[in-house]
Each structure stands twice: as structure tokens, then as C-alpha cells.
């Protein structure tokens, strides 16, 4: 009875280890070429945890592209860009058209027209830019 219980216990532990992805300890580090990034002053990969690209893709897919395309886009980014897309996706500027002022309020239209003429903004193509 006792041996049978301990056998069950061992089997459970082995199964648990399998589930958790544990394996028997091997050599602490595998011999590998030193990558070029390690020669940079601040290898970013060592400073912070690796960005989860699946999470980046999820955020992009919520903005109207297919999950496959979102995955392709997320995987093609550098680590720094992926971090940006993960942490600041809502605030990153998305640039589109320059003439989309139609829906703007008249007040905004007039202000922009004047600032355009003064050369502080560059919204309306029909405004002759001030050249000094």
C-alpha cells in the first residue's frame, strides 16, 4: 500500500514537471557564438524581458487586420519597436491624410487657416506658405 502510494506520488511529480516544462538539469550554459548585439554598449535584450510578440499581435489584430497579418507585423519588429507597439499602441500617432479637416469644427478650421498662413501649421494645400 505504502509503496503504491509513493509510486503514485512520483508519477504525479513527473507529470507535474512535464506540465511545467521542467527537465533534468544539464550544463548551465550552451556553447554558442556571441551575437553582434552583445558587442553593443547596451544590449537591450539583456536589460529587459523579451517582449511577447503574441501580445503585440493581439493588440494589432484588434485594430482591424487579420490575426495572420497581425502576427506577421509583430514578428517583423525589432525588440524596441515591439515594446513601443505593446506599451504605447493607443497613443502612437497613426498618420493618414492631410486633408481630413472636413469634419472639424469651423473654429478649428479658421484657426488652422490663420496658423497656416502664418506658417506655424501646414494643413491646407491651397495656402501659400510664407517663405522668409
Amino acid at each position: 500500500m505504502g509503496t503504491r502510494r509513493s509510486w503514485h506520488c512520483l508519477a504525479a511529480l513527473v507529470a507535474l514537471a512535464g506540465i511545467l516544462g521542467l527537465s533534468l538539469p544539464t550544463s548551465p550554459a550552451l556553447a554558442a557564438p556571441i551575437p553582434t548585439r552583445a558587442a553593443l554598449a547596451s544590449p537591450q535584450a539583456e536589460l529587459a524581458a523579451v517582449v511577447d510578440r503574441a501580445e503585440v499581435a493581439e493588440g494589432l489584430a484588434a485594430l482591424g487586420i487579420s490575426p495572420e497579418e497581425a502576427r506577421r507585423r509583430a514578428l517583423g519588429l525589432t525588440e524596441g519597436e515591439a515594446r513601443l507597439a505593446l506599451e504605447r499602441l493607443d497613443s502612437l500617432p497613426a498618420a493618414g491624410s492631410v486633408g481630413a479637416v472636413i469634419g472639424a469644427a469651423l473654429f478649428v478650421f479658421v484657426v488652422l487657416l490663420i496658423t497656416d498662413i502664418l506658417g506655424f501649421t501646414s494643413v491646407f494645400p491651397f495656402v501659400k506658405k510664407t517663405v522668409r
Partner: protein
């Protein structure tokens, strides 16, 4: 409702006018008085598609012609009715081009144009209360006329006052990106930034495009061991073991105190059946790492590996 607008604009003018004209500073610098990059198309953009239009113009200049329409599914984000800058950088690299972010300083940007490198630029053409984000390609400038030339979706080149562009560009945090063909480097004296851009290219599976870049880097900064070191890794990834070895040897000669070139040379020597040489190199790498105070673990792993009987 309309009454306060001119007053408000006048107040804005006073605040911004306080910055003074950037033009006199630029005229006094050693920038050429005018520059124009040829070979950049000026496509007319479809609604919301300034990103694909600007990208297609720059890619075409760089020898990777694409239409704006073919780029829409790759960079446009319907949920944001626009394109993110990171998506443009990715498509530049995906075509084996070096994606280099220019420093957010107008003289640095114009210096690239003067060197013949057009730049993808992000502008915020409106005001903070009514933002209008816009991508375009900066292809030229004329300090005499006080203008820059943008290919910004109008179908024809657009001439904008330098002072206006300085403001709209600064409002977009001075974002500018070069897309350079293999082996061509930015004009900027920025070894760290250029090396970082080369590593980004190499890590995204573009070793064939990164290799000539590392060679150009080595030709420009011959004392820097990281140029030939990157070249060695890029050649190794391409399966050119003999070429990788000669590059790593150049790196080791440029910086005998660094452990990284010896580590990689040790693994190549072992793969070539030169066990004794591999062990000597690996031992040297561990000692060099300890002397420099680097984490010796990866170098010890190599020593252990090459120390085993094959």
C-alpha cells in the same frame, strides 16, 4: 465663436515667434546651400494612405520599387485610419534596406539629404488641439529660398518654408527614417546608431544585406572591432565559414583584449577539426572576459565544449 480666433493665433504667433528663425543658423552652418535627391517618385496618395505613398516613394528610390496600393495591406491600420511609424521601419528592413532613425535635429536631417539620402519624415501639421499627422519624404532643400521639398502625397513635390517644416516636424518629435541599400551608410558620424541599425537588420534575418553594411562600417571606422565582428556573424549565418573566420580574425586583431572574437573563432576552429587551436582560443577568451570584468559564463561554456573529445 470666430471672434477670439485671430487673437488666439496672434498669441500662438508670439509664443512660437520667440524661437527665432532657424534659417540664419542653417545658412551659417557648413551645409551646402541647396540639395535635391533625384529618383524619388511623388505619388498622389489615396485618402488616409500617406504612409503607403511615402514608403513606396522611398523604397522605389532605394531600388525596391513598390506601388502604394501593394503596401496598404502591409502597413495600413484600419482601426486607426492611418499608419504607424514602426510598421514603415519593418517593411524597410524586410526588403534588406538599412532602417536608420535620423537624430531629431534639422541640421542632421538636412545633412543626410545633402549626402543624397532622402528621409521618410513624420509631421504633425496641425495644432495640439487639432492634430494632423502626416508622412512624407524629404528630398531636398534650398536655404536661399528658405524652403524644403517634400513628396507628401500631393502628386507633385511640395515646397514648404523651412520654419514651417521645423515646427511641424518638431511636433512629431522629429521622427525621420532613412532606407539605405546594402553597403550604403548614413552621413551621420554616429557609429553606435549605425551599428545598432545594422544589428537590427542582421537579427531580422537579413544577414546578406547586413554583411556589406558591416564592411562599409569597417572601412569607415577601421579601429572599431565591432565592424568585422558583425561581418563575421553575418557571414557565419550565410554559411560562409571561411569568410566568417577571416572577419573574426580582423576583429581580434583590432581589439586583442576582447573575448568575443576569440570565442567565435574557437567554435569555428573546432567545427573545422582544429581542436588544439580551438582550446587555446577558448582559454584566451575566458581569461579576457575575466580581465574585462565580463560575465565569463558564455566563454566558459565554449571552453567546455571545445575541450571535449570530438
Amino acid at each position: 465663436m470666430l471672434g477670439p480666433a485671430p487673437l488666439w493665433a496672434a498669441a500662438v504667433a508670439v509664443v512660437l515667434g520667440g524661437c527665432g528663425s532657424v534659417l540664419s543658423t542653417l545658412r551659417g552652418s557648413d551645409l551646402p546651400h541647396r540639395a535635391a535627391v533625384a529618383g524619388v517618385p511623388a505619388p498622389r496618395q489615396a485618402e488616409d494612405h500617406c504612409g503607403p505613398a511615402a514608403l513606396s516613394a522611398l523604397l522605389t528610390w532605394a531600388g525596391r520599387p513598390e506601388t502604394p496600393e501593394s503596401l496598404v495591406p502591409l502597413v495600413y491600420l484600419p482601426g486607426r485610419s492611418g499608419t504607424l511609424a514602426v510598421d514603415l521601419a519593418r517593411e524597410v528592413r524586410a526588403r534588406g534596406l538599412l532602417a536608420y532613425p535620423v537624430a531629431p535635429l534639422l541640421p542632421a536631417l538636412l545633412a543626410e539629404v545633402a549626402a543624397g539620402n532622402p528621409a521618410l519624415v513624420l509631421e504633425q501639421r496641425g495644432l495640439d488641439v487639432a492634430p494632423f499627422w502626416h508622412f512624407g519624404v524629404l528630398t531636398g532643400y534650398d536655404l536661399g529660398r528658405g524652403t524644403v521639398v517634400l513628396h507628401a502625397g500631393a502628386g507633385v513635390p511640395e515646397e514648404v518654408a523651412v520654419d514651417t517644416f521645423r515646427r511641424t516636424w518638431a511636433r512629431a518629435e522629429g521622427w525621420a527614417l532613412l532606407a539605405l541599400p546594402p553597403g550604403r551608410l548614413p552621413a551621420a558620424e554616429d557609429p553606435a546608431g549605425i551599428l545598432g541599425a545594422l544589428v537590427d537588420l542582421e537579427e531580422l534575418g537579413q544577414s546578406a544585406a547586413a554583411a556589406p553594411g558591416y564592411e562599409a562600417y569597417h572601412a569607415r571606422w577601421p579601429a572599431d572591432w565591432r565592424g568585422p565582428f558583425g561581418l563575421g556573424n553575418a557571414r557565419w549565418a550565410l554559411g560562409d565559414l571561411a569568410g566568417a573566420e577571416s572577419a573574426f580574425r580582423r576583429a581580434a586583431a583590432a581589439a586583442p583584449a576582447r573575448p568575443e572574437p576569440s570565442n567565435n573563432l574557437a567554435l569555428l576552429a573546432r567545427a573545422d577539426g582544429r581542436g588544439e587551436e580551438a582550446r587555446t582560443l577558448a582559454r584566451g577568451a575566458v581569461e579576457a572576459a575575466l580581465a574585462l570584468g565580463l560575465d565569463p559564463a558564455p566563454f566558459r561554456a565554449t571552453l567546455e565544449e571545445v575541450g571535449r573529445e570530438p
